[in-house]
């Protein structure tokens, strides 16, 4: 099978109207597409047995979160009033015209940014000669890398007395007790700080806070009254607190009528 590779092109022109989107393979769309055959079984089997994490429920959660992040419940178009939009007294430059006419949303810009980063990474992987331009690393540097910078870690400076003072003559014998020792490391050197401050910004997705450490179970609440959701609806998996709220759930909010 022939191996196809996109070579980095220095004179690439961004065409308007579409964006290259990196295919990460973990998107909602893909997950949804997997359900086309044997839907129920697939949806159930992918999640942990007995858990709340079937694919269908994950999708519902993602959809709900996206819904809550929207500006308004409906899609509304509020046009800019004509008397202020049409009032162009002086000549506008092509740049300004392009920006003002642009109907791109943040999702479009984000997709563009992700595509650019993916392309940069591809370029870096395929580049074998060092004469290619070094692209700034938009991914997070791991803490271990930062610790590897000399002078930043606690171990290097631990031996040096802080501030150049001679050690106090009469030391308490308990000072060396490992249980009582203070482990606050000394401040990093100026070069380290300079490197930190001049680092490139992260991409939008890289700066998102990560998930909490595993082990803390998710809390569930009754979707009707907000009390602890101790009972799970057998049809749709929603949580309710008791019989009274289960009735209200069945009356209007159960997602599945036939199951």
């Amino acid at each position: 099978m022939p191996h196809v590779e996109v070579l980095p092109n220095s004179t690439s022109v961004r065409a308007p109207g579409y964006a290259l989107v990196p295919d990460t393979g973990h998107g909602t769309v893909q997950v949804a597409a997997q359900q086309t055959s044997g839907r129920k079984r697939a949806a159930r089997s992918l999640g942990l047995p007995g858990g709340d994490t079937t694919v269908r429920q994950q999708n519902a959660v993602l959809k709900h979160l996206a819904e809550l992040d929207k500006d308004s419940h409906r899609d509304v178009q509020v046009p800019v009033p004509k008397d202020s939009a049409g009032r162009v007294s002086k000549k506008t430059t092509p740049n300004v015209r392009r920006i003002l006419m642009s109907q791109k949303t943040f999702a479009n810009h984000l997709a563009d940014e992700e595509a650019a980063i993916a392309q940069q990474q591809q370029a870096r992987q395929s580049a074998t000669t060092p004469r290619t331009k070094i692209v700034p690393d938009l991914k997070r540097a791991s803490t271990s890398e930062l610790r590897a910078i000399p002078g930043s870690g606690p171990s290097q400076n631990a031996a040096k007395p802080i501030g150049g003072l001679p050690p106090a003559p009469n030391r308490d014998p308990l000072d060396d007790d490992p249980l009582l020792k203070s482990y606050v490391p000394s401040a990093p050197s100026e070069e380290v700080m300079e490197a930190l401050v001049s680092g490139p910004p992260l991409s939008y997705n890289a700066a998102r806070a990560g998930p909490p450490p595993a082990g803390k179970p998710q809390r569930h609440f009754c979707e009707i009254c907000g009390y602890w959701g101790a009972v799970k609806c057998m049809k749709c998996g929603a949580r309710v607190c008791g019989l009274e709220c289960k009735g209200a759930h069945d009356d209007g909010r159960c997602l599945k009528f036939y199951a």
Binding site: L65, V78, A209
Partner: protein, 449 residues
């Protein structure tokens, strides 16, 4: 290797406009020698259309008194300035047109504009081009909104004596800014006023998210409020508080609690309240009042629903909505969001820094942004950060005196010092000489001037 261009003497005009361009409000005003919060105007950053199909732009919204079913168009999306068509209309209304709040002639004005952390480069470029090519400001600098907070007297917030006014523009050496705003909450470590980009973290929950969640809960439990975003925002600001003991408060508000249990949990501040909805026809504002449990009150409510009698007010009884909604800032997992709460985000941000900086950062935390005004927010945040932080480090958390206008005031302190301002501003002439690509590099720090 940074490229060094020929140093030129920059001449800046006297007037400086500072705009902290937020998603909900735009904080704008002119700097002077000793700026105060009164110099700052918080202008709604939106174009709104009410149910009479009348359109209101920015500051005009103050005159609007019917917020029923009002819809908003916001140029700032998820914290980033995306739609310049709308933003230009709002800026024109606020600065250029007749009767503007802050009339200004851009050609003889310096502009200090803020942006959210991690803005995509394409949006930054758009912003630069509009500022210089459309508005033609004399000089301009674009900086991170949290970064401007470093120009405050941070130590006095922690109880230290206030510093000498002669050293006003010195940025704080180490500062960790928690900015919980309308679109999201960010944690930004600053060193000498410069952001440490690798360690900036963002929690995708802001005031908008909380409002929408409250709207959803009330629509399930009381009235359909799906089109009443503005009202829900008001309700949220009035009633929400952050619980110190979530489990206990949830038990206290349970509808099925038996009489004996209620007695055991009573005797403290009552959580359940009534919110009386506003009447836009009679120009009545909505307000909160303690819940009346007596049967006569219940009858009155039934009577008002059936339209009998002279009582025309409508109210809804709110219990656990009051604290489960802002609780999301501390445990987003309650809705299945795969992110850690605000205290955890602080620790994630610290993990991107060398451990030697942790003590200094943890001892100098500044909280800004509208969400920090929620009752109980500071106490809970301090408690949880204290629990997560290493035991050796002291944790000091302070809220800015005005958390919403804090970044603006910091920018005004910066602009008050001419030499500091001169160091960051780029003049229009330089832009015309070097172009927008160069300008982007100047603001990101990879080109020194």
């Amino acid at each position: 290797m940074p490229r060094i261009t020929k140093p030129t003497e920059r001449v800046l005009p006297d007037q400086t406009l500072i705009i902290d361009n937020g998603a909900y409000t735009m904080k704008a005003g002119f700097a002077n020698a000793s700026p105060t919060l009164d110099n700052c105007h918080a202008i709604p950053n939106c174009i709104a259309r009410d149910r009479g199909r009348r359109v209101w732009i920015g500051a005009q919204l103050e005159k609007c008194n019917d917020f029923g079913e009002i819809t908003f168009r916001r140029p700032v999306e998820k914290g980033f300035l995306v739609n310049w068509e709308a933003q230009k209309a709002i800026w024109d209304n606020a600065f250029i047109e007749k009767g503007a709040t802050l009339p200004c002639n851009p050609q003889s004005t310096n502009l200090v504009l803020t942006e959210a952390p991690n803005t995509p480069a394409a949006l930054q470029k758009n912003c630069d081009e509009i500022v210089f090519e459309e508005y033609e400001f004399a000089s301009y600098s674009r900086c991170l909104s949290p970064a401007l907070n470093a120009y405050h007297d941070i130590q006095s917030l922690h109880g230290a004596p206030s510093r000498d006014s002669n050293i006003q523009a010195l940025p704080a050496e180490c500062l960790l800014v928690i900015d919980s705003g309308f679109s999201h909450s960010t944690v930004t470590p600053l060193f000498n006023g410069k952001p440490i980009h690798q360690a900036i973290r963002r929690l995708d929950i802001g005031g908008k998210f909380l409002t929408n969640y409250l709207k959803e809960l009330i629509s399930i439990r009381h009235y359909n409020m799906l089109d009443e975003t503005h009202l829900m925002n008001e309700v949220k600001e009035t009633i929400c508080f952050i619980s110190e003991d979530f489990k206990r408060d949830l038990e206290r508000t349970w509808k099925g609690a038996s009489a004996s249990r209620k007695k055991a949990l009573d005797g403290e501040r009552e959580i359940v309240v009534d919110y009386v909805l506003p009447d836009y026809n009679a120009h009545k504002q909505g307000f909160m009042r303690p819940h009346d449990r007596s049967p006569s009150a219940k009858l009155r409510k039934m009577g008002s629903l059936s339209g009998a009698g002279d009582v025309t007010e409508e109210s809804m009884t709110l219990g656990n909505e009051r604290f489960t909604v802002p609780e999301l800032l501390f445990s987003p997992g309650d809705l299945g969001m795969k992110q850690e709460g605000l205290p955890g985000t602080v620790l994630q941000s610290l993990s991107g820094l060398p451990p030697g900086l942790w003590p200094a950062m943890l001892a100098n935390i500044l909280v800004v942004g509208g969400n920090s005004k929620i009752q109980g927010f500071m106490k809970r945040l301090e408690m949880e950060v204290r629990q997560l932080a290493p035991a050796e480090c002291a944790v000091r958390i302070a809220r800015a005196p005005d958390p919403i206008k804090s970044a603006w005031l910091g920018g005004a302190h910066l602009a008050a010092k001419r030499s500091a301002l001169k160091a960051v501003q780029v003049t229009r002439q330089e832009y015309q000489e070097h172009g927008s690509g160069w300008l982007g590099k100047v603001f990101s720090g990879s080109v020194l001037r």
